[in-house]
Amino acid sequence: MMEGAPNGTSDKDRLTFDWYLDKVVQGLVFLGGISAIVLIVGIFVFITREGLSFAATQLDIIEFFSSPRWRPTSEYRPTYNILAMIAGTASVTGLAMVVAIPFSLGAAIYIAEFATGKTREALKVMVELLAAIPSVVWGFIGLSIMNPLIIELFDVPVGLNILNAGIILGLMAAPIMTSIAEDALKAVPDSYREAAEAMGATRLQVVLKAVLPAAKNGLLGAVLLGVGRGFGETMAVLMATGHSINMPDSIFDSVRALTATIAAELGETAVGSEHYQALFTIGIFLFVITFIINLLADLVVRGVRKG
């Protein structure tokens, strides 16, 4: 008839090799997607199997959450209560967000909206490099640099405390939050900026009035992912908090995080013992918290798509 690809003239609706290939690849990709669900369900089943029977039969749930006494190795009467650790994790994560949110949003806005050319490229590479620093290195910095610095500056006996861990965790979370926030800002179409600029808006006004409202959900998502990161982080907080069971009343108190407790103690418990099962109960709690945070982040980001 005319130029281009030949069409099958006799039976035009035939299933070609490409069609079958498409179906096969769709199947494989589907398996890839499903595997994530299978894994998450598998992990959940594993930790609940190890921890749930203990939590359901021997544990007083109200006391578990409301008493700070975690004495797993007491000869007389071991107790497994996690309020102190929840306070530890929450205070460190909270302080980390106070540090990380201004840093990361500022960096993201600078990179996405103000920096140009080489500065911008260099910054992006740096931020990604920062994100790749292993958490044990951060913990090491907390232990060997921040610790003496805090003792010196604030004249406190111990430098391994909420302040130390919060700053370390904040600096750790900031690069990833920056990356995600910058992606959110970059996803705002240039036409929005042009439309605002065309009305004589200054750079700052463009950012405040056009870009930030459009990127709002993505930025919130970045913050929530940072919070999730804070809850889940183990090694750096283990090294920088001081790791002592304590209800904190100031940022100079040493605390202990939920994750760090599992990491430090699981290796020394007998499999199946009460202590072992109590650690798994903490695991269930962490899993649920992380799940909720991620779900929230997902719902927030999904708000973008709905417009």
């Binding site: 281009g4 690809a5 069409n7 035939r14 299933l15 490409d18 069609w19």
Partner: protein, 254 residues
């Protein structure tokens, strides 16, 4: 010339998005080798109509199509190989989409997908399609530069060249001149008149005079229904069934 063989028969077509009707009760046929114009104000359902024909509704969550669309006697939704269907019914969208490939590669994409590898054959297709889309002279010396860097009007012609590269039997154009200057619009209109020898064209347009210049027959869509279908000259001469058609054509609303 315009044949009388129906290429597409649309019967009782109704389209809704998440339960909200967008178009309903469309009955019309589109004949082989004609230019079929569709005019009507915004939100009349023109684009939804095009989407349903080559099953782009598969992409749109919540979009539901009822009724039948017979393409050479077979309902498009009965096609097992939807990709083969889309190869035969090409679309040009209102805003040009230059894929992030070279100009040459943009046009050669579809032929390559269907297995044409010989360079001379590809060269031939690319040159002919670009010539038909009135773009060849402007780009022949820089075929490898990025298609997405062309101007809006050039990108639109590139899109048309790309749509032609897989020899569709039906070419649907959705307000193609929205981002194109008047001179280029006229050149593309000439191209469409020539293409009528070889394929069937469905032309959705906001410019009623463009429909008059090009279309053999024209349908008037209004508020989610097809008000009437008739020979374009009849509609413009006032031989209409509904006075709203004349009102729209003469610019009294819309």
């Amino acid at each position: 010339m315009v044949g009388t063989v129906p290429k597409l028969q649309v019967r009782g077509l109704a389209i809704s998005y998440g339960g909200k009707p967008a178009l309903s009760g469309v009955n019309l046929e589109i004949r082989e080798n004609e230019i079929f114009g569709i005019i009507g104000p915004a939100n009349a359902g023109k684009t939804s109509f095009l989407k349903s024909i080559n099953r782009m509704d598969d992409f749109t969550v919540g979009m539901k199509v009822e009724g039948s669309i017979l393409f050479e006697g077979k309902d498009v939704r009965d096609w097992r190989n939807v990709y083969a269907l889309r190869q035969r019914i090409g679309v040009v969208f209102p805003l040009p989409v230059g894929l992030p490939l070279g100009i040459y590669d943009n046009v050669a994409l579809a032929p390559r997908l269907s297995g044409i590898r010989r360079r001379s054959q590809l060269d031939d297709i690319v040159e002919r399609c670009l010539t038909r889309a009135a773009l060849w002279d402007e780009v022949k010396d820089r075929l490898n530069s990025l298609g997405s860097l062309l101007s809006g009007g050039q990108q639109q012609r590139l899109t048309i060249a790309r749509a032609l590269s897989q020899s569709p039997e039906i070419l649907m154009l959705d307000e193609f001149s929205i981002a194109v200057d008047p001179v280029t619009t006229m050149r593309i209109e000439d191209v469409l008149r020539e293409l009528r020898q070889e394929l069937t064209i469905i032309l959705v347009t906001n410019l009623v005079q463009q429909a008059r210049r090009l279309a053999d027959r024209t349908a008037f869509f209004l508020d989610g229904s097809c008000v009437e279908v008739g020979d374009t000259e009849d509609l413009f001469m006032g031989k209409v069934q509904s006075s709203s058609t004349t009102d729209y054509i003469t610019g009294r609303f819309g």
